[in-house]
Symmetry: C4
């Protein structure tokens, strides 16, 4: 009666029938006319993407998404605000965040932050919740934003409220000229319905991120491999039907190169990552991360996570790696994996075989790792 | 040959195809003519429901169930008795309880406790075991009890013993005018047979509570999601056949808002909770909880659990929440969840999709929560 | 391709459609003309059954099985030998046992031990390995043994060796007049083939005991619920075909009343237990237990286990229980369970429903047991 | 949609319908004309097989495989190089290895190491990566190597790179006269395609070894039981079609006698082991082990593991065993297991039944092992 769903730790990738040299693997990601060397979006989290991080990340070839409803658009001088969250006692952090985020968004700061990014020749993507999209997206686009991301914990094409004036994605898509990404969703039907509204990309994932406790609080959640497989099937059906290719961007729960590779074999065209980026020296969170729902005024669905500051962005993305636990050189891992499964492109990766094979912990009784 | 059964930790709720604003979610619970704002019954456990707790809980909109065979009807001055259990050494607690509970029930105290609750304008529900129902229920009803709960570890409509005079539920239902809830049961057939006797509500669950060790002691137990799904199917069949709607109240094992939400997507109309209420400042257990079978004279099937005193009833039920682990603001969690799955009512929640997706523990190797 | 198998921790018992009072539950066990109040055999392990333990256990209504190839038949004064094993250092215990057991069996001591048991009006069962059965069983029977148990890690009706003279069970059964129990086996076909040789009881189980490491050493093992279900189906087929009822005795892995109850719902007519008995004050092991294969000269497949001395035999078997973890009052647990599933007899228990429902560990994050 | 895959800890072996005495079990392994008493190859890891270890292991009846691209062919005096790795700090070990292995292979040392082994009357097998096979295999063969092993993390018969000149296994097989083993692979199709190229043996396994972190880093991995079952089916199909028998050698993840036995019931003709051999007194790693990919210059996929120095080779292989956890006397375990399942030969072992039965951890709450 109930179907099984699977996450990264539940599956493994099976090597292909032929192999290729990693040098032959093409990892590019396209959304409409925009092309990125790295198939990676940086999460719209205040501890991950600041204006300067967005610039750094764009120069590496990825796409950073700035949260338009957080610290950067609420406070002119955001560094001391970040500091107040970072330095708070563990048991106070949620209530301090509730207070910090209880501040109005400044329209002027939206324009300012977008221009800060654009003036550095970086691609600028911004994230807005559905309720604020009609009001804030024109401001961001006018200031130069290249990509609009409409994002909340769960987003569907049909949202009902007393005010009745829900966001109409089809209309929005007609009004704005830049690529539009929406999310998050986790199922075939919702993804398909979104594609029919004309959106360019879909964020997949409810509940799996490290800083997210939606599942404990509300019971909601779909493990990331199953969610990505389902939404990717919708993309393939829609592509077959219409000839238009809508990107699937899987969002949440990636901690290692292994998880990163499994995203693509699950059908993703790109991934959105938060915590691994929050661990870099360039991230504004100084070794901490938290989700936007952490600051919800009456029902926080996230938590501040101590992630540590580990290495720089280059090491995370391109190595070289000096550890062997998969936390460095994500792109090297991807290219090697593509070699092992014989995938020349990300789309080839979608055809790779996966199996259900829970991770094995052999350490302990018989020997000790890394000693 | 053997079927799989699932509990709260094994499943997750899938977001719906449309969403609604939480303000549109109606969470009311009805049993016959009685209507409650909260779909929550407080467990008939001595550490959870005292007469004064029943009053507090009724005022919040829920229904507290007073155990008619425990400390409150055995001792005039029950506070020192509670204290003797609470202050006992861990390894002595079971034998101290065996001694405390080895005392006769006072008929006078039954009437007195019911009146204490009623005189405060609260709805009064009382719990009696099947063996004592014929004798004690008239006393409770005469004193003003609004709901009778007939409850033991496992209850079926047909119980055989040497004395032959088992409780006939059909006859009992004819004699008493107030709503009758019976339990606990866990299967389609037993739930259906109970409905045919005319009962108004059914308690579902054997073995899952935190203070319950029935499964370790006797091997008996059915995980709560499967038990609730099965008994709810019986309710739906019976409703289709007769037009009468019998409430399914799932009882045991709920610790978080997530578990609470999953109860309703499993088919429950209301839940009975113990341990989360025992953790409130208003509870008589002062940070401890135990089940009635803990005091069994020769085969204890429960244990005293140290649950801590955490916050007040209002915070547990309606927040605001300052933690993000799902232990506060159960009603906020439910309304948000109903929004995410597009459920206007509890009955809509019954149609939400669930998947099998064991909880993931990501903490530890890669980062630390709440630090 | 591969089938799933289940053990005690993987399953739970579902309550029945009607219930009975525990006083109505008949737990008797019969093997041919011998009838026992308790459906329990004490394992043929030197730390469990000494001659005096066999007498104590028989008086309680069970059947103790004396190992005829261990300390009691190798040493006239066995107490100091037991002491040398018990007091050995953990890392020396296996090699000390290898030395102690490397001693010839004394035919005189066999007769003497049997007579010690019989002279106390106890039922006497003895265990012999297949290789020694032809030589030692006549001695034991002449001395008065009531039941012969032919037992080794894995026993089949067809064993091939260079010497060719394997034990022919059909012939053996013709020669001896007392009931014959053989084991261990775990599958339908082997159990059925054994029944056709005329044996009276079959021991079921390879690998699950607490003092057994056969699975780690050789990879062999079948979880106890599946093994018992399979062999019980053979018993039922054979009974239908021939009208003769051969007892299925499940052996190994029982630690709690819950496990004990699940043995019967898996199809067992009786159980053989070791470790819970080794924990009693009456046991010769003084808080330790070990299997016979622990002393194998080149490939030990067992280990000395520190089990502690917990309570007396009466508390283990009939309570009253002062703990709530299922480790006391096994018979009370069984009778209560039979009440909950509506079983008047052990054979009724065979029809009870079980489900796959892994044990839940809720302790820790939310509350603490027994504190 | 996704298939389940299983590893050693997930399965157990079911006893057979008849049994044999272990003395009747024939464990020989043949590859072409070469016959070995032990069905065991020692892994081509620098911490496992040095020239002198290869000699010792050959004398015991097994086949040691010397890595031709490691320390022994890069350094004339390799002992101090080993020492520098072994004595490095845990967090430095990967980068020290990256440095040590960044050294050219000496063609002279290849010949020298082969001659060292051959001059001691040992069988000599050497391992080369596909990229170096054409260049280095003639040198090794001319120096006297008896077996060529072409091995990398994942090897397929078709590898594509910019240079186009991939290794053609069919041609290679025609040129060299000694037996050729290739690997690693994990699937039916790749194994079958390799067999059609004429190779004599196939190494099975990606990801499971103790010193291997390929799965964490790249997501790749297939649990060993499933991989071996699949490749063995290919061998059986190919044998049926052509009459030529290609050996399946399972490689990785074996820690106990139980794992070792399960390899054969999964279909293996022989096994390759690393860590258990690295734990012997004869091993060059002095209590450490590491895989070749640990030293990858930009993406290490392995780690230095502290395995301890436990006992000598004889104890590991033939006992006698003084422990009971399956870590000693692998051959004794295999012969006993063959007895229990009634297998006269390794090929009989392929027909033994296995079940899915996750390992049980009973220790802790109820008793303590080995105390």
């Amino acid at each position: 009666m109930l179907e099984h769903a699977y996450g990264y730790d539940d599956v493994a990738i099976v090597p292909g029938e032929f192999t290729i040299n990693p040098e032959l693997a093409d990892t590019k990601f396209k959304i409409n006319e925009l092309e990125f060397d790295l198939p990676i979006l940086a999460s719209a989290m205040d501890a991950v993407v600041s204006p300067s991080f967005a610039v750094d990340f764009s120069k590496k070839g990825g796409l950073g998404v700035l949260n338009l409803e957080g610290i950067y658009t609420k406070y002119e001088d955001y560094s001391e605000v970040l500091e107040s969250i970072i330095s708070s006692e563990p048991d106070k952090s949620t209530s301090i965040m509730q207070q910090v985020y209880n501040q109005e968004i400044s329209v002027d700061l939206i324009a300012k932050r977008v221009q800060e990014i654009k003036s550095n020749n970086a691609v600028c993507a911004v994230s807005i919740t559905p309720a604020n999209t009609k009001r804030l997206s024109p401001i961001a686009i006018e200031a130069g934003a290249d990509v609009i991301v409409v994002q909340s914990t769960v987003t569907t094409p049909r949202h009902f409220s007393r005010s009745i004036t829900g966001l109409n994605m089809t209309e929005l898509k007609k009004q704005i000229k830049v690529p539009l990404i929406v999310g998050n969703c986790v199922s075939y039907n919702v993804a398909l319905e979104f594609m029919h509204t004309g959106v360019d990309g879909i964020l997949v994932g409810v509940g799996p991120g490290a800083a997210c406790t939606t599942r404990e609080v509300t019971g909601l959640g779909v493990p990331q491999v199953t969610a990505t497989l389902d939404c990717s099937r919708a993309r393939d059906s829609y592509f077959e039907e219409t000839g238009r290719y809508v990107s699937i961007i899987t969002d949440g729960g990636i901690r290692t190169g292994g998880d990163f590779c499994k995203s693509f074999t699950s059908g993703a065209d790109a991934v959105m990552i938060g915590t691994p980026l929050a661990q870099t020296l360039e991230a504004p969170g100084s070794g901490y991360n938290w989700g936007m729902a952490t600051a919800d005024r009456s029902l926080p669905r996230g938590t501040r996570v101590s992630v540590g500051t580990k290495w720089n962005l280059e090491t995370l993305l391109n190595g070289p790696s000096s550890t062997s636990d998969g936390t460095q050189n994500f792109m090297g891992a991807l290219k090697n994996c593509m070699g092992f499964v014989g995938a020349y492109s990300i789309r080839d990766m979608h055809k790779a075989k996966m199996i259900i094979a829970p991770s094995i912990k052999t350490e302990g009784k018989f020997f000790q790792l890394g000693k």
